[in-house]
C-alpha cells in the first residue's frame, strides 16, 4: 500500500531531469544577467572615466592656451610695440614741459590693479546646481516636514 502510494506520487524521471535542466538554465540566465549588468556598468564607468580624463586634458590645454593668449596680448600691448605703432602713425612724444595740467571733473586717475576679489571679501560663490536638482525625494520630504505650516486664514 505504502509502496503504491509513493510510486503514485513519485515524479517521472524525465520530469526530474527537466526540472534540473530548468534550474540550471535559470541559474545560467541569472549569472548571465548579473554578468551583463556588471559589464554594462563597467563599460559605462570606463567610458565616464575616459571622458573625465579627456575633459581634464582639455581643461589643462585651455589653461595653457589662456595663459598663452594673455602673454600674446601683453606682448602686443608691450611698451616697445606700442612705441613702434605710435612711430608708425607719425606721432611724436610730447615734451612734458609743454603739457598743460587741467582739472577735469569726473576724471578717474590711475587705479591700483584689482585682479582678484580681496582676501577679506565675504561674498559666497553661488552653487552651480540648485538644491532642487540635487535633493533626493527623501530630502525633499524631510524638508517639507520641517517647514513651518503657513495658515491662509486671516487672523482677527
Amino acid at each position: 500500500m505504502k509502496t503504491n502510494f509513493l510510486h503514485a506520487y513519485q515524479q517521472a524521471p524525465w520530469r526530474t531531469q527537466l526540472q534540473w535542466i530548468g534550474i540550471f538554465l535559470l541559474i545560467l540566465v541569472i549569472i548571465a544577467a548579473i554578468a551583463g549588468v556588471y559589464l554594462s556598468v563597467s563599460e559605462r564607468a570606463a567610458t565616464t572615466g575616459r571622458q573625465i580624463q579627456s575633459l581634464e586634458e582639455e581643461i589643462n590645454l585651455l589653461v595653457i592656451e589662456n595663459n598663452d593668449l594673455a602673454s600674446q596680448l601683453a606682448s602686443i600691448k608691450s611698451i616697445k610695440n606700442m612705441q613702434a605703432r605710435v612711430e608708425d602713425l607719425d606721432m611724436v612724444q610730447l615734451d612734458p614741459q609743454q603739457a598743460l595740467y587741467l582739472e577735469i571733473p569726473g576724471y578717474i586717475p590711475k587705479e591700483a590693479a584689482v585682479l582678484a576679489p580681496p582676501a577679506r571679501s565675504q561674498s559666497r560663490e553661488a552653487p552651480v546646481l540648485l538644491p532642487e536638482f540635487t535633493a533626493s525625494l527623501w530630502d525633499w520630504f524631510l524638508s517639507k516636514l520641517s517647514q513651518p505650516q503657513i495658515s491662509n486664514e486671516v487672523q482677527p
Binding site: 563597467s42 602673454s71 608691450s78 616697445k80 614741459q97 603739457a99 590711475k110 591700483a112 576679489p117
Partner: protein, 594 residues
C-alpha cells in the same frame, strides 16, 4: 561497482584537495618571502604610474595690471617608441620642421623599447605653435593621401606632442633687473634667479603634487587639480619704469658714464615705483647672463652694488645734527677752507674758503669742512647712532633677490679712525647701496618716518588678492627736523639755480660727487655722480635717486646727475598726475576756505 566509483571519487577529491592546498600554501609563502615587497612594488608598475604635476608659475603684473611675466604655450615633441611605424618618415619630417638632426632622430626612432631602452624619447622640449601647426598639417596630409596598391602610406605614428607652459616676459628687458628670470629650460629643477623671481620663488612656483594614475579605465580618476603658484602685483609702474630706463639710457649716452641707476620711490609708503639700472638682460634669453654680466657686474646695481655716495650723504649728516640739536638752520659756521681732524686736513671740493655760512649755505655750497665740523659738534657716538637708526648698517630687506650691504665702520672697530667721522660726514669712507640711501633719505621726505622699501604691492593666492601693508622701519627723525631740512634743501637748490629744478614744482635735493677709492688712493679725475631729490616739497609723492658712474663729460654731480633728475621729474609729474604748485595750492586754499 559502487565501491569502485566511490574510491575513484575519493582519489580525485584528495588530488584536487592536495593541488588546491599546494596552491594556497604557495600563495601564502610567496606573500611572505623576502622578495615579496619587491614583487608587490613591481606589480604597482603594471597597475598604473605616479605622475608629478607641476603647477603653472604665478604671473607678475605691474601696479596697473600689465603682465610683466607670464606663461606661453610650447610643445614637447617626443617619440612613443612602441608606436613608431616609420622611423625614416619621422626623422625626415622632424628634421625639416623642427630643424633637428636627421641621423639623431632616426637613431632614436629605430630604438626598440624595453630591455634598458626608454619607451619615450624627447626630441624637442620647446617646439613652437607654428612648428606644431606644420606637423599637424603634414600628419593630416599623410592620413588623407591615397596611395596605390604597392605603395606604402607615409605615417607619423609614434611622433607625439604635448602642450606645456613656458615662462615668458612680454616686455622683454623692461624692468628685468627687478623681475629677475626663471630658468625655464630646466623643466624639473628650474628656479628663479635675482629680483622678484628669486625672492618669491617658492610662492610663484606653487607646490608640485604627485598623483597615481591607474591604467584600469574602470577606476574613475579623482579630479587632479593643482592650484597655480601665487601671482604678484608689483608697485612698479610700467610707464614710469620705461620712462626712467629711457632717461637713463640717454643720460649714459650723453654723459659717457660707465653705468647708471635711477630709483623712483614713494617715501609715504616705501613702494618702489621704478628702478632702472644698466646693463639689462632680456629674461626670455636668460642664458646670455654670463655674456651681459661678466664678473663682477651686479644684476641690479641699485641693491647689489655699494659705493661711496659723496655729498648726497650730507643730507643725513645735516638731518642727524638738526634732529639732535647740535646745530640749527641759523647756526653760522666760519669756513676757513680746511679743518684738521684726527691728524688729517679736510678741505672743500674746490679747496676754497667760503667764510661765514649758515647751515643752508653749507648744504648749498656742499662744504666738506662745514659738514666735518657739524659731525664733530654732533659727536661720534650720536653720529653713528643716527646712521644705524637710518639702517645703514644692514640690508634694507627689500623683497628682491641679491641685496648686499657693506659693513658700517663705527668707533671701536679696528678699521675706524677719528678722521672717519669727518670723511663719513660728507659721504666718503662709507659705502652704501642706492636703496640704502633711498630708504634713509626717504625719512626726511616723510616727516621722519622711514618706510621699508618694497616692490610687491599685493599677492593673488588661491583666487584672492592679499595687499602687502607698508612697514615703518623706524622713526629716526622728528617730523619738525624733516620739514626743516626739506625747506633748507628747497632753498639751497633755488638759490643755486640748479639745473635740477623743475618749472612749476618745488623740489628739495642735493648733488653728490664722490671720488672713487682705488688701491692707490682716491681718484679725482673719475667720479661717481649722484643726485637725490624729492617733491612736491610740501607733500612729497616721489623721491628720485640718480647715480651715474664715471661720467666722462664732467666729473661733477651738479652738471651730470642734476639735469637727469630734472628730466625724470618733468616726466614723472605727468605720469603721476601731480598738479603744479599753483594749482595744488589753489585747490588746497579753496578746500580750506570751504
Amino acid at each position: 561497482m559502487k565501491d569502485q566509483a566511490w574510491s575513484r571519487f575519493i582519489i580525485v577529491a584528495v588530488i584536487a584537495s592536495l593541488v588546491g592546498s599546494a596552491i594556497g600554501i604557495q600563495m601564502i609563502r610567496i606573500q611572505n618571502i623576502p622578495a615579496a615587497a619587491e614583487i608587490l612594488a613591481q606589480s604597482e608598475n603594471y597597475r598604473g604610474f605616479i605622475e608629478t604635476i607641476y603647477p603653472e608659475r604665478g604671473n607678475i603684473y605691474d601696479a596697473e595690471g600689465n603682465l610683466l611675466a607670464g606663461n606661453e604655450a610650447v610643445f614637447e615633441v617626443g617619440l612613443d617608441l612602441v608606436s613608431v611605424a616609420q622611423p625614416e618618415t619621422i626623422a625626415a619630417v622632424a628634421s625639416s620642421v623642427l630643424g633637428l638632426d636627421y641621423a639623431k632622430v632616426l637613431a632614436s626612432a629605430q630604438m626598440s623599447p624595453g630591455n634598458g631602452n626608454p619607451y619615450y624619447v624627447v626630441l624637442d622640449g620647446f617646439a613652437t605653435k607654428e612648428e606644431i601647426a606644420e606637423l599637424e598639417k603634414i600628419k593630416q596630409e599623410y592620413e588623407d593621401r591615397k596611395v596605390g596598391r604597392n605603395e606604402t602610406k607615409p605615417t607619423l605614428k609614434g611622433l607625439i606632442w604635448t602642450a606645456q607652459n613656458k615662462r615668458s616676459y612680454p616686455e622683454g628687458d623692461l624692468a628685468s633687473n627687478i623681475i629677475g628670470f626663471y630658468s625655464f629650460l630646466d623643466k624639473t629643477e628650474g628656479k628663479g634667479y635675482f629680483g622678484v623671481e628669486e625672492a618669491y620663488n617658492d610662492l610663484l612656483a606653487g607646490t608640485p603634487k604627485q598623483f597615481f594614475k591607474n591604467y584600469d579605465p574602470v577606476e574613475i580618476p579623482t579630479t587632479e587639480t593643482v592650484p597655480p603658484g601665487a601671482s604678484l602685483v608689483l608697485t612698479i609702474d610700467r610707464d614710469i619704469q620705461a620712462m626712467t630706463e629711457n632717461v637713463l639710457s640717454e643720460a649714459i649716452n650723453w654723459s659717457g658714464a660707465e653705468a647708471g641707476t635711477i630709483l623712483v620711490y614713494n617715501p609715504e609708503d616705501g613702494s618702489v615705483l621704478a628702478m632702472a639700472t644698466t646693463p639689462r638682460l632680456d629674461p626670455n634669453e636668460y642664458w646670455k647672463y654670463g655674456e651681459i654680466f661678466p664678473n663682477p657686474t651686479p644684476y641690479n646695481r641699485a641693491i647689489s652694488k655699494s659705493y661711496e655716495p659723496g655729498s648726497v650723504f650730507k643730507v643725513l649728516t645735516m638731518a642727524a645734527a638738526l634732529d639732535a640739536g647740535a646745530v640749527t638752520p641759523e647756526t653760522v659756521f666760519h669756513d676757513t677752507g680746511s679743518i684738521m681732524v684726527g691728524g688729517t686736513t679736510i678741505t672743500n671740493w674746490n679747496y676754497g674758503a667760503w667764510g661765514d655760512q649758515d647751515m643752508t649755505g653749507c648744504m648749498r655750497h656742499s662744504l666738506n669742512v662745514c659738514l666735518s665740523w657739524i659731525a664733530m659738534q654732533l659727536g661720534a657716538d650720536r653720529f653713528y647712532t643716527y646712521l644705524k637708526n637710518f639702517g645703514l648698517d644692514r640690508n634694507t630687506g627689500i623683497d628682491l633677490g641679491g641685496e648686499v650691504h657693506f659693513p658700517l665702520k663705527v668707533p671701536g672697530d679696528n678699521q675706524w679712525y677719528e678722521v672717519d667721522l669727518a670723511t663719513n660726514s660728507f659721504g666718503q669712507g662709507i659705502s652704501l647701496t642706492p636703496i640704502q640711501m633711498v630708504m634713509a633719505i626717504g625719512s626726511v621726505a616723510n616727516e621722519g618716518k622711514m618706510m621699508a622699501p618694497h616692490v610687491v604691492k599685493s599677492m593673488i593666492i588661491d583666487g584672492r588678492q592679499y595687499e602687502v601693508n607698508p612697514v615703518i622701519v623706524g622713526t629716526p627723525l622728528k617730523a619738525e627736523t624733516a620739514t626743516t631740512l626739506t625747506s633748507m634743501l628747497v632753498t639751497s637748490l633755488e638759490e643755486e639755480s640748479s639745473v635740477a629744478l623743475v618749472e612749476g614744482y618745488t623740489v628739495a635735493g642735493k648733488t653728490g660727487t664722490a671720488e672713487i677709492p682705488t688701491e692707490f688712493g682716491y681718484t679725482s679725475s673719475v667720479t661717481n655722480t649722484s643726485f637725490v631729490g624729492w617733491g612736491p616739497a610740501e607733500d612729497p609723492k616721489f623721491l628720485v635717486y640718480i647715480w651715474l658712474e664715471k661720467p666722462t663729460i664732467s666729473i661733477w654731480g651738479s652738471e651730470v646727475a642734476a639735469p637727469v633728475f630734472s628730466d625724470v621729474v618733468k616726466n614723472l609729474v605727468v605720469l603721476m598726475d601731480i598738479p603744479p604748485d599753483n594749482i595744488r595750492l589753489q585747490s588746497a586754499s579753496t578746500t580750506n576756505g570751504e
